[in-house]
């Protein structure tokens, strides 16, 4: 990408869930090739951001803009966003009983990349990617997220990401529910599918995933705003200090702000 404008640009994003404001002005820019980490305590709005970016109808954008390669994303339906190259790895992937992962991925790759990929080529690619993620080929016959363990679901999410090869991938707490071995496999999988054409926003509560996926940019989300951004050193700082200090600082700032408004 030689364009001066960031691939993915979030400006002053406000999002409400059931009329309750959750995000209160998020600004973030992610370029293709970059890996960003978004960290924050529980309830800070991390998952709200992920769902709002993908267009979940329950998450209502009340203010702000999101642009993807210069185009207004917020006007698009979730499937249109996916076809533009946006991807969300879900924190809680939902089960689609009776639909095999293989058939689902065939339909999804067709929808996103068009019908050019032959059945044979698709099959080969699927097997390659499953091998990469240390998945049993028989897994393709399992129903989508139905009766899968937490680790299997997350691995299936990364498999989908690998097959759809998005330009921007948002990974919502992909580390949650994984034991240490599964975490390493999933993280190594992400690293191996990451290309200079793919921008990644890793959303996580903990440092541990970031031991494997190394972000160049780290942002801290507190009470619906990004209160701090920096390099990977920020991860270590948070790990050492916890979120308490940064939450306190935010509350003090907000209190001052509120005092001024009053």
């Amino acid at each position: 990408m030689s364009s001066t404008q960031p691939t993915f640009l979030i400006e002053d994003l406000h999002v409400s869930v059931e009329d309750k404001p959750i995000l209160r002005g998020v600004n973030l820019a992610v370029n293709q090739g970059e890996i960003h980490a978004l960290m924050g305590p529980n309830g800070s709005g991390k998952s709200t951001l992920a769902n709002a970016l993908m267009g979940h109808p329950k998450y209502r954008v009340t203010q702000g803009r999101v642009q993807f390669q210069g185009e207004d994303v917020l006007a698009l339906t979730p499937d249109e966003r996916a076809r533009k190259g946006l991807f969300l790895a879900f924190q809680y992937p939902v089960a689609i009983p009776g639909v095999s992962l293989g058939n689902f991925l065939r339909a999804a790759t067709r929808a996103v990349h068009g019908p050019a990929l032959t059945a044979g080529a698709f099959r080969r690619e699927l097997m390659d990617k499953m091998k990469l993620l240390k998945m049993d080929p028989a897994f393709a016959a399992r129903y989508v997220n139905d009766g899968l363990s937490g680790g299997e679901k997350k691995r299936a999410e990364v498999l989908q990401m690998a097959m759809l090869n998005p330009k921007i991938a948002v990974m919502d707490e992909t580390d949650s529910g994984l034991d240490i071995d599964a975490l390493r496999t999933v993280a190594e999988g992400v690293n191996s599918i990451h290309t200079p054409e793919m921008g990644v926003l890793v959303i996580t509560h903990y440092q541990r995933l970031l031991n494997y996926i190394k972000p160049e940019f780290v942002h801290v989300l507190v009470q619906g705003r990004i209160v701090k951004s920096g390099g990977s050193e920020l991860v270590d700082q948070l790990e050492a200090e916890g979120y308490d200090r940064i939450i306190r600082e935010t509350e003090q700032k907000l209190a001052v702000g509120a005092g001024r408004e009053a």
Partner: protein, 470 residues
């Protein structure tokens, strides 16, 4: 006769995929309404033995006497005086494809029969109107001694077998529509599989209603002798007409000791057809009977495939799906009677309603006294695609024996926003996403079908779903 393709398409045809119908060219068409004389005439035209005529006339009396069922779907709009009870399209059953009239071939082409035949069919018994016009049995079946004929020919050529088993599973007095079928039946399939013979390729019939206001009353009898096995496939499509048609079939299966019968139906009648069918199987010792039953079309369907487990160790399985759109009522289910010890049964029912359509599961599970160690599992799941559709469950369980294990599970669900969002986040549009969920919901059924049928079913669901999102 030569018919141009454009003649086959009716002007103003609806969007129903198979809603074309042919120019009528029939040798005989009965008048409307049903009389004793007409029943006699049908039997005489077929040169039937006297016992069959007597059977028909007795059935006619029962039909006239029996009141309309007041339970189940609304049948009040059926006008028995406004139906053709018998239509004969050509003089005799055709033996080879070459002899089949061109316009009939055209219809079959549209339904994909010749291709299906090339691929995997043992013999095609395609019922055009009330007579079987095309009938082909592969040589290896003949060598195995398997009889696969239309029912009229079966009666003519194997009267002793027909007489022994005909109406033994479903007597004329079973219900009003079984009585009607018994009086005026025409066509259908007759299959006899000798002892120990396994028919490896599915036998298939393709039925089609083609005359306005014409009832189709086919009669099928399948006998699998000891230790034999057979899979029969029935697929139906019908053109759309403005007034109501009646389809009332009777299907009897007899599985002798250790035999296995699977009967697969994909029924896609057009949305003006009353589909009132009685299907029942008798399963003797260690026999296994499966009904795989798909109900996608029709205005009203009432169909409860039954299995009487009369021999020790017999096993029965009913897997059914129903799809009801606007103006449709699918009242379907299963009937399992455990009349012997160590018998097992499974009922799996999946139904989808949309656009104000209605699905009902109606099931009877009965265990007779003395039928010890019976195991049965019933599962019925309903999926409703909108707020205006309806789904009901009427399970009836009668247990007269203590030593039994019965499980019943039921669920009613909707397509969740989370499922829809998940699939759409992977690039599928709303229709494709919903279709995928629906296909997944029916998968327990679809996976039991031969590949071609599974593909066709999924395509039909796609067509249904394209109208479901607006």
């Amino acid at each position: 006769m030569a018919v141009k393709p454009q003649d086959l398409m009716q002007p103003g045809a609806t969007d129903y995929r198979y809603g074309f119908h042919d120019v009528e060219d029939y040798k005989f068409k009965s008048g409307k309404g049903l009389t004793r004389e007409m029943v006699t005439q049908i039997s005489e035209m077929k040169n039937e033995p006297k016992w069959m005529l007597d059977f028909r006339l007795k059935a006619y009396e029962i039909f006239m006497r029996k009141p309309m069922p007041t339970w189940g779907a609304d049948l009040s709009a059926i006008d028995f005086d406004n139906i053709h009870y018998y239509v004969k399209p050509s003089e005799k059953t055709e033996n080879s494809w070459d002899e089949v009239p061109a316009y009939i071939k055209d219809t079959f082409d549209k339904l994909g029969i010749p291709e299906a035949e090339r691929k995997f069919l043992a013999g095609v018994s395609a019922q055009y109107e009330s007579e079987v016009v095309y009938h082909n049995i592969r040589e290896d079946l003949e060598k195995q001694g398997v009889l696969f004929l239309d029912m009229d020919s079966g009666l003519r050529e194997h009267e002793e077998i027909v007489k022994k088993y005909f109406a033994t599973v479903i007597p004329a007095a079973d219900n009003k529509f079984a009585a009607l079928n018994s009086a005026v039946w025409s066509g259908g399939s007759f299959i006899y599989v000798p002892k120990g013979v396994n028919v490896e390729i599915p036998l298939q019939a393709y039925f089609r209603i083609n005359t306005e206001n014409m009832g189709q009353f086919e009669r099928t009898l399948i006998i699998a002798d000891e230790g034999s096995s057979v899979h029969y496939i029935e697929g139906c499509t019908a053109p759309v007409y403005s007034s109501d048609s009646l389809h009332s079939a009777v299907v009897e299966l007899i599985a002798m000791r250790g035999a296995h019968i699977r009967y697969t139906t994909i029924q896609n009648w057009s949305s003006n057809v009353y589909n009132l069918v009685t299907k029942r199987a008798m399963a003797h010792e260690h026999a296994f009977v499966e009904w795989v039953d798909g109900n996608l079309g029709s205005k009203v369907t009432m169909k409860y495939p039954g299995i009487f487990l009369v021999g020790e160790g017999a096993k029965g399985e009913v897997i059914s799906v129903a799809f009801a759109s606007e103006g449709q009522h699918q009242d379907a289910g299963a009937k399992i009677i455990h009349a012997a010890p160590n018998t097992t049964s499974t009922i799996t029912s999946k139904s989808i309603s949309k656009g104000g359509g209605r699905t009902s599961y109606r099931g009877l599970l009965k265990v007779h006294k003395g039928a010890e160690n019976v195991k049965s599992f019933v599962r019925c799941d309903a999926l409703m695609l909108d707020e205006i559709s309806r789904s009901d469950t009427y399970p009836s369980i009668e247990i007269d024996e203590d030593q039994v294990s019965i499980e019943h599970e039921a669920s009613v669900s909707k397509i969740s926003d989370e499922q829809l969002f998940y699939l759409m986040s992977r690039g599928l549009n709303e229709v494709d996403a919903k279709t995928m969920i629906v296909n997944g919901f029916f998968e327990a059924f679809t996976k039991e079908l031969p590949m071609e049928y599974a593909v066709e079913l999924n395509r039909l669901l796609q067509l249904q779903m394209e109208g479901a999102v607006g």
